[in-house]
Amino acid sequence: MAEDIYLTLSELQKIFYDLFVSMFNGSPTESKVRWSWPTQGAPAFGISDNIAFLKIYDDASTMTVQREDVYSQESGLPNMSTGYTRTLRLDCIFYGPSSWENATIIRNKMFWQEHHDTLAQSSIYLVPRFDPPKRVPELWQGQWYDRSDLSMTFNELVVLNREVPYIEKVPVGIYNNDGLQIEFDIE
């Protein structure tokens, strides 16, 4: 059966984590990029730490409505391939004294060809129309933590395959008044 094209949550997280780390020119071991909603919780950060938090989820769009089914037969197995576009929303929250600058850097670098090509390897494509970062500092324990928010959407190709039910063979029997005369299978 043909291979599905579908990225799981952990695969998507890895792709965008690596992309953000490369855009920050950091090494993957650095913890400047983090995913929100850690299952067991996670240590927070200091007021002077520049950190980006990411959230990813599906977004409704006109692109997600159309689905295309293609039937094929490879190696004798009939296959139904359903293709559609999934729209992903990536919310980025930047904290730290450089939060606004970092959000602006990410917004600009998203349009670079090399980052387009990286995402295209995973069938993910930026929707090149998204708002500039919004600066929304947060009051926490008597201090304002600088914060900037940036959201963007991506279209991802999804192809799911399934083996459709089919008739393997049809047994045929030819009878006359004396009973069964010929028996054979049509495959």
Binding site: V33, R34, P38, G41, A42, P43
Partner: protein, 120 residues
């Protein structure tokens, strides 16, 4: 200053419990726990909040919490050099994640409140 620390380990009041101290790091942007450090402690355990039923559309959830008084330091989540998430305390077949610590070290003890993590 009255030192009440000796009451904390008085055999008339105290009992054993196990503290699991977080020992993780960020891996690909996700906080990932390693093998926690296990610390046996002696202290006084009291009720913080009752086992309470929350009847949700998806099923019954049960909350609850306990207080742990001990003369060794207990921690909630912290960043920096000793970063980690809150201590978890194993007591009578349940884990309690610390939600608050009252550092009364000057009076000889720490009081920590933990919420039951099982949630059901």
């Amino acid at each position: 200053m009255i030192y009440v620390g000796e009451l904390i380990t008085d055999p008339d009041f105290s009992q054993k419990f196990t503290v699991y101290r977080s020992n993780g790091s960020f891996v690909d942007g996700v906080w990932t726990e390693g093998t926690p450090i296990q610390i046996e402690m002696l202290g006084v355990v009291t009720v913080m909040s009752s086992r309470e039923l929350h009847q949700l559309p998806e099923g019954d959830r049960v909350s609850g919490g306990m207080n742990f008084h001990t003369n060794q330091a207990l921690y909630v989540s912290r960043e920096g050099t000793y970063e980690g998430i809150s201590d978890k305390i194993y007591w009578r077949n349940n884990y309690y994640k610390l939600a608050s610590v009252l550092p009364y070290a000057d009076y000889g003890y720490y009081k920590a409140s933990g919420v039951r993590t099982k949630g059901a």
